[in-house]
């Protein structure tokens, strides 16, 4: 019986994205998440007494320049050396881009595969052969697996590869390969990296992505970790996914249909959050709240988004015992009244309402509105306008959403609250 760990996409010191700081947000719980997850990996390897550890690329973010990250990596890998555990690493696209990789001296228990061609390293006493090749540059477009050697006879063969497989949404298509191609090599186990979602592509032989070790934004939801592989005497591997993340990302959708007031919606959310926390056993969690559906509370909520955002945060503080961070609250509500009153009397307010409708449906008009925001757009940092954040000033849907929210806010503000 022999066990080893398969991990990938560690992205050390990669920051968590889009967490807005507010009073009571669990800042401490979220610090240095990628490092603590990596420490969990090291701890797991030592406590499970694994024979070796595989890392299928992307140790750090490509554009990250702090050499301390590399030194930290070395300090952790040294712990494995002290426990007599060898480590096999192929460099991924991020590692190839990283300056850290070029200068870092790794401990002698670590084997970093060269990038000029595929190599095979053996552990004779365990009868293991690990085949792999590092990325020579950040953008490898050819199928690296293609030139991997045939399986060695009478050995347990492992392929270590950083690849997008046949292409995965949200991941750059680097070193593409096909399942048939991998199978043709006759290996017993393919340890893949690059795709952050854990995925078993094939069970015979095992071809799988371990997924990344720690989610860093709302598009990386659910448990993250590594794979513990046990190989029996007949060279038959069994796999077990081991979550090692320290912070989890989750989306909570609340269907507001049939709920009368904002407070009912907050209650419904609280209930769902409680369930989620039970499932995650109180793990620190970043949640995105999405409120959707048709509700009479539409006007009330959208006319004061800030206030209701805070209501959700307060409910979270109460239930999450200081471990839950509300990443964002999205109000995708529809107004039931708009269906009930198809007709609309003329008059000044109707003029305003009609204008809102017109603008929502007119791309040019929305562009005109976007130009109102040109001043602020100029001042904002790039990362807010592109990539993971959805604040895209040239995205007319975004302006459309803002219009949807601005309408009830303005109408509420203009019309009297009522006779007292």
């Amino acid at each position: 019986m022999l066990t080893f760990l398969h991990a990938a996409d560690i992205h050390l010191d990669s920051p968590l994205h889009n967490l807005d700081l507010y009073e009571g947000a669990p800042v401490e719980e979220f610090r240095q998440a990628t490092r603590r997850a990596f420490e969990n990996l090291i701890h797991l390897a030592i406590s499970e007494k694994v024979a070796f550890v595989l890392i299928a690329g992307d140790l750090y973010d490509g554009d990250w320049k702090d050499y301390n990250t590399g030194l930290y990596l070395v300090s952790q890998l040294t712990k494995l050396r002290n426990a007599g555990i060898p480590v096999f690493i192929v460099a991924g696209n991020h590692d190839a881009a990283s300056r850290i990789t070029k200068t870092l001296r790794l401990p002698d228990n670590v084997t970093l595969f060269p990038s000029d061609r595929p190599y095979t390293f053996r552990i004779e006493k365990l009868n293991i052969a690990v085949h792999g090749q590092s990325f020579p540059n950040p953008s490898v477009k050819k199928d690296l697996s293609n030139s991997y050697p045939e399986a060695l006879k009478n050995a347990f063969n492992i392929g270590l590869l950083h690849t997008c497989a046949t292409g995965r949404e949200g991941h750059e298509s680097y070193a593409p390969c096909s399942l048939d191609g991998l199978r043709s090599k006759g290996y017993d186990y393919w340890a893949l990296g690059h795709v952050h979602q854990h995925e078993v592509i094939s069970k015979d032989p095992f071809v799988l992505f371990s997924g990344n070790t720690q989610g860093r934004h709302i598009r990386e939801t659910g448990p993250k970790g590594c794979v513990l592989v046990s190989v029996d005497h007949d060279d038959h591997p069994e796999i077990e996914f081991k979550p090692i993340d320290v912070v989890r990302w989750e989306i909570i959708k609340v269907d507001a249909h049939g709920l009368e007031s904002g407070y009912d919606i907050v209650d419904s959310f609280s209930h769902k959050l409680e369930q989620l926390l039970d499932e995650n056993q109180g793990m620190p969690t970043a949640v995105r709240i999405i409120i959707e559906g048709e509700t009479p509370a539409h006007d009330d909520m959208l006319s004061d988004v800030e206030r209701w955002t805070n209501e959700f945060r307060a409910a979270t503080l109460e239930i999450g015992s200081g471990k839950v961070w509300v990443e964002k609250t999205k109000f995708n509500l529809t107004d039931p009244a708009s269906d009930i009153f198809p007709e609309r009397a003329s008059g000044a307010i109707s003029e305003l309402l009609n204008l809102f409708d017109e603008l929502s449906n007119d791309a040019d008009a929305r562009r005109m509105l976007a130009s109102e925001l040109a001043e602020i757009e100029k001042k904002l940092p790039m990362e807010l306008k592109s990539g993971s954040n959805d604040m895209q000033f040239d995205d007319m849907d975004w302006i459309g959403d803002l219009l949807k929210q601005a309408k009830p806010m303005l109408i509420k503000r203009l019309l009297k609250k009522g006779i007292s």
């Binding site: 930290y72 601005a406 806010m409």
Partner: protein
């Protein structure tokens, strides 16, 4: 929409108040309510009525939320009326007018034409506050046209304020060139953080640089250290040699010197010491010998002078004994005086006692009075016995009367107590009755139940029509069996099904027939299609005409009548030719049509056939129906017959099936009850029997009235009480009798005891007389007296006894004194004749002194003799010592090769010198060995000799410089190593940069939300101003025109009107135009009241504009005229009256004078007024 009727059913202060608002075209309704009448409640009521009562309504102070109701009848402009009731609640609050069922909210919303609650309140409600606020907003906004028009068209009073507010919120978040706004601040922080991050990031090259520097320094340090060791080694060798040079020189000198003393004898080190000691000891011995001789001489002289008396020493024991007795003698003579005093006082006291008892006797004769011990005891015993007897007699005597009285008392109670009666049969009767007692209640209630059931049963049976029937008769009732009923049920079902089928068929046939007839009628209406018959008829007429013509042509006779008849066939024709022609045409036409419309003809013919067929089918079906109805009649008749013998008119078999079941179960129940009834009545008889028996038994005791009617259970209780009472009485009688017997026995015993005691007393008297005679008392004397005399006697004899003892002791003392004197005198005569004349005690004392002196002298003599012996011994010792010392000194001389003792000192000096030189040499060799670094001394000396001593210092200095340089370099290297290690240890993989990156992300996250907020506000501002501008473009003209006219009207012509002008900044603004001189007045130049009126004019114009294109909505006005003078108030009322032609105006006021003004000045066909009265 207008409100025809407003029902304030249960709302605020109102209960069941209804306002009829149906008057007028739309109607101007002036609703007057005093201040407390609930004007504002009524206003709210209209809103709540249309849009629901708010969750936390305050109008529940009389009617609770659950009871709150508003109602209304409203009418659309098309005349549709909608009546409804509104209750308070979250859902389903709209109800029908009778409040019984729900209405859909959409039903009401159709009347509101898209106006929601907020819009209704804003646009269709106006109050004094709105007016004032609106007026102020006009002034502050400088009369800006766009906003005013938008305000007018929407009813918003503070548009400018709202716009500013939103703009301000946006400005707080961000300003393009700002610093302190939230977003600007965050952006600044972001910049700083990024800078910090760049600084915190450790570039890889730097680590490598430090790592390499460290390695280089470590290598160099190793080389320097090796070189340093080598140089230090050289240096230390030279230093050693330099140090050894003086030592080597000295060593040489010492070797020379030693040669001179090689012959000196080496004496032991303690030799001089030993020699000195022996000489000292010799001196001491000689001196001691001389001293001892002197001492012996002086001691012998002292001994010869000592004084010792031998006689005294021989009698020493006797002298000491006498000296001891002397003390005793002195003490005894003192005691004797005290004893003598005591003895004479005791004698006096005894004499006194005796005189009191018997003055005839002297102390010596007192013995006569002494009584013996048994006699004393006898008197004491008798005294005690007397006390006992007297006590018993008195006790017994006291007891007797009490006992007699108690017996009397018991007698009295007994005679007063009632005699118990015998119980006879009562207990047995009771025991029997006890079994039935508990059943009695149950029995009564059973009987009652049974009775009530029978009553119900009779009613039920009567209902079924069997009023006078017994159960048995009912049981025998010849009702048909269940099977028969089901048979009929099937038959009825079958007939009814048939009937229904036929009826359905008939209906179908009728529909088919009427369809056929409708088609036929359609054909007819389309134009009757001619038939073959029509053609035949036309041909016949034509032929007939042709015959007439032919006859005429052939000149055959024709009658006028024939002609006339023929002519009639074609109305309007005057001659036969014309008629024939017409006939001919008609016939042709019919033939043509027949040919042309052959299809239609055929269709019509078919329809006619269908019609006939249909009618026949219908007839057949109706016949069938009649048959089945008959059949049903027969079944019904047979069904009735089945029931005839029971006298019941049966309903349907299904119902009768149920009836029969009920009937049977009723009978069964009645039978069960009958059984129960028999049992219950039997039990009742048994109970009655026991009751009678009990009454009889109880009557014997005659203690209760009315027991005849008592229930058995009560009788049982009664009997139990009697038995209990009688038993108690009997027990009491017996107890009293027992008590009496006991007391009588006690009395007899007491009387007999008394007699015995009195006899005993007599006996005692005799004994007493004998007993007291010896102490001189009479028989009458009481025991107390006897005791007193005995005590006196005892005291007398005690004192006499004590006096006698004292006398004996005095005699003893006198004897001892004489004895002592004799002994002293005897001794004095032997040893100290000079003392014979002195008293015995003095002589004894002197003897003692003399004895002591002789003893001291003797002891001194002995000490001195011992001293003499010691001195003799000392002389002998000293002589021996002197001989020994002399021998030792001679032996020392021999050792040192000396002739005499005097030479010894020189020999010692030479020995010392030799020893010192040898020691110095050894020291020098040792020092050299320490410096030689392992070589022998001789080798080392040789090595040193090989080096030029003059070059050593220079060489050492050179080496020292070199070593210093090497050390300096090493220390520098250590510093380098230290600092590089520090640098590297700083690069410890810290997460500082990562943390900063995270903080940046958090800032970015926060920024996102703020930016969104800002964007929302910014977009809202923009859209609002666009809407304002757009509405202005559309409506500026009509609204300003209307408003101008209204302003003129409301200001009573003080202004000509208003118009738009451009202000200094080129902005279009509204200005007023004076009537007189067309002077232009800016809004800033108008009075408060005037701006209020300008605002009102604009609002009314906006409303009119709205009404032009929309369904009317009632306009609710709340007391806006308070600040207006009468003229302007009238003008405004008129303006409102004008508007009320287009939409309903509901005007609330609590000013009676406004009502009066309206009455006077407004057309009564337009104005309606109402008064609010709340339920109070």
């Amino acid at each position: 929409m207008r409100i025809d009727e407003l029902r304030l059913m249960a709302f605020g202060p109102f209960t069941d108040l209804s306002l009829d608002l149906s008057g007028g075209r739309q109607g101007f309704h002036l609703i007057y309510g005093a201040n407390e009448a609930g004007k504002s409640s009524a206003l709210r009521a209209i809103r709540d009525l249309l849009y629901g009562v708010p969750e936390r309504s305050t109008d529940n102070f009389i009617h609770p939320y659950s009871k709150m109701r508003l109602g209304a009848a409203i009418r659309s402009s098309k005349g549709q009326v909608f009546e409804f009731v509104r209750r308070k609640g979250r859902v389903n609050t709209l109800r029908t007018a009778d409040d019984n069922s729900l209405l859909e909210e959409t039903d009401l919303q159709q009347y509101l034409s898209g106006v929601n609650a907020d819009l209704f309140v804003t646009m269709f409600g106006i109050g004094l506050e709105d007016l004032v606020q609106g007026g102020q907003d006009i002034i502050r906004g400088g009369g800006e046209v766009g906003r005013l028009v938008f305000s007018a068209g929407s009813g918003i009073v503070n548009l400018r304020e709202i716009q500013n507010d939103i703009q301000e919120k946006a400005d707080q978040l961000f300003r393009p060139s700002g610093q302190k706004q939230k977003i600007n601040t965050t952006l600044g922080m972001l910049k700083n953080h990024r800078k910090e991050l760049r600084e915190a990031q450790l570039p890889g090259q730097e680590w490598v640089k430090h790592d390499e520097a460290l390695r280089a320094a470590l290598t160099r340090k190793k080389i320097v250290e090796t070189e340093l060791i080598l140089q230090q080694k050289k240096m230390s060798r030279l230093q050693r040699i330099r140090e050894a040079l003086p030592l080597i020189a000295k060593r040489r000198e010492l070797t020379e010197e030693l040669k001179n003393f090689a012959s000196a004898v080496l004496l032991p080190q303690d030799f001089p010491e030993k020699r000195r000691e022996l000489l000292t000891a010799l001196g001491i011995a000689e001196k001691g010998k001389t001293q001892a001789l002197n001492t012996i001489e002086s001691t012998e002289h002292v001994i010869s002078e000592l004084d010792i008396i031998p006689g005294l020493l021989d009698n020493a024991e006797l002298i000491e004994e006498l000296h001891r007795e002397l003390g005793i003698q002195r003490k005894a003579s003192k005691d004797r005086i005290k004893l003598e005093t005591l003895r004479s006082s005791l004698q006096g006291e005894a004499k006194e006692i005796l005189r009191n008892l018997r003055d005839d006797l002297t102390l010596e004769e007192a013995e006569k009075l002494r009584i013996k011990k048994p006699e004393t005891i006898r008197i004491q015993e008798l005294s005690a016995k007397y006390e006992r007897l007297i006590t018993r007699i008195e006790d017994t005597r006291e007891k007797l009367p009490d006992l007699i009285q108690e017996i009397d008392h018991v007698d009295r109670i007994l005679s007063a107590l009632e005699q118990p009666k015998p119980l006879d049969n009562l207990p047995i009767a009771l025991k029997e009755a006890l079994e039935y007692g508990p059943l009695e209640n149950q029995n009564t209630s059973d009987l009652y139940d049974i009775q009530s059931f029978i009553k119900t049963f009779k009613i039920e049976i009567a209902k079924l029509g069997f009023a006078d029937h017994s159960i048995e008769e009912l049981e025998r009732l010849p009702a048909p069996s269940m099977e028969t009923i089901q048979l009929f049920e099937n038959r009825f079902d079958s007939v009814d099904r048939q009937t229904n089928d036929i009826k359905t068929e008939i209906k179908k046939a009728r529909i088919a027939l009427s369809e056929v007839e409708r088609q036929i009628e359609a054909h007819r209406l389309e134009q009757e299609v001619p038939t073959e018959t029509d053609l035949q008829i036309a041909r016949d007429i034509r032929n007939h005409g042709w015959q007439l013509i032919s006859r005429k042509l052939k000149d055959e006779p024709t009658t006028e009548k024939e002609l006339q008849d023929y002519l009639k066939t074609t109305p309007g024709s005057t001659n036969i030719a014309e008629t024939f022609e017409t006939n001919l045409q008609q016939t042709d036409a019919i033939a043509d049509r027949l040919r042309r419309e052959a299809d239609r003809v055929a269709a019509k013919a078919r329809l006619l056939v269908d019609q006939t067929g249909g009618r026949e089918q219908l007839q057949q079906l109706e016949n069938d129906l009649e048959a089945t109805e008959k059949e049903r009649h027969i079944v019904t008749h047979e069904w009735s017959k089945e029931w005839q013998s029971t006298g019941i008119m049966p309903r349907t078999p299904r119902e009768m099936e149920r009836w029969i079941q009920d009937f049977h179960s009723l009978i069964q129940k009645a039978k069960d009850v009958d059984v129960r009834r028999t049992k219950a009545e039997d039990l009742k008889q048994d109970i009655e029997a026991h009751r009678t028996k009990m009454i009889r038994c109880i009557n014997v005791f005659g203690r209760a009235e009315d027991i005849e009617k008592s229930s058995l259970i009560n009788l049982i209780k009664h009997a139990q009480t009697i038995i209990e009472d009688e038993t108690k009485l009997l027990q009491k009688h017996e107890q009293l009798k027992r008590d009496k017997a006991l007391k009588e026995k006690e009395l007899a015993a007491a009387q007999s005891r008394l007699k015995t005691y009195e006899q005993e007393l007599k006996q005692w008297q005799t004994w007493w007389e004998h007993a007291v005679a010896p102490i001189g008392l009479e028989a009458k004397a009481l025991p107390g007296q006897a005791t007193a005399v005995m005590e006196e006697l005892k005291s007398l004899f005690d004192k006499l006894k004590d006096a006698k003892i004292l006398q004996k002791r005095i005699d003893g003392i006198d004897r001892d004194t004489e004895d002592f004197r004799r002994k002293v005198n005897g001794l004095v005569e032997v040893v100290a004749i000079d003392l014979t004349t002195r008293p015995a005690d003095e002589a004894a004392l002197e003897l003692q002194h003399r004895l002591k002196r002789s003893r001291d002298s003797l002891s001194k003599q002995e000490t001195l003799n011992k001293q003499l012996e010691k001195e003799q011994e000392r002389i002998k010792q000293a002589t021996e010592d002197i001989l020994q010392i002399d021998a030792k000194l001679k032996s020392m001389c021999k050792e040192a090769f000396c002739e005499s003792i005097g030479q010894l000192s020189e020999a010692e000096k030479r020995s010392d010198t030799r020893r010192r030189i040898e020691a110095d040499l050894k020291t020098a060799d040792q020092s050299l060995l320490q410096l030689s670094a392992g070589a022998t001394v001789d080798e080392f000396v040789k090595e040193a000799a090989a080096i030029d001593p003059d070059s050593i210092t220079g060489e050492i200095e050179r080496l020292d410089g070199e070593i210093q340089n090497l050390n300096r370099e090493k220390s520098e290297l250590d510093q380098t190593i230290g600092s590089e290690q520090t640098e590297l240890s700083k690069m410890d993989g810290s997460a500082r940069a990562a943390d900063l990156a995270e903080e940046i992300q958090i800032l970015v996250g926060g920024l996102g939300n703020d930016v969104e907020n800002y964007a929302r506000l910014k977009i809202a501002t923009k859209v609002l101003s666009l809407a304002i501008e757009r509405y202005r473009e559309k409506s500026e003209g009509p609204i300003l025109k209307n408003a101008s006219a209204l302003f003129k009207q409301i200001t009573g012509g003080s202004f000509e009107g208003i118009r738009a002008e451009y202000d200094d900044k080129g902005q279009p603004v509204i200005v007023g135009v004076r009537q007189k001189d067309k002077e232009i007045v800016s809004v800033g130049g108008m009075s408060d009241g005037t701006t209020d009126q300008l605002y009102l004019a604009l609002r009314l114009a906006g409303l009119e504009m709205y009404l032009e294109t929309n369904e009317p909505i009632p306009f609710i006005v709340d007391d806006i005229l308070i600040k207006f003078d009468n003229d302007r108030a009238i003008a405004t009322l008129n303006a409102l009256a004008d508007i009320s032609l287009k939409t309903q105006v509901i005007f609330f006021t609590h000013h009676r004078h406004l009502v009066a003004l309206a009455d006077k000045h407004i057309n009564s066909s337009t104005l309606f007024h109402h008064a609010l009265k709340n339920s109070n």
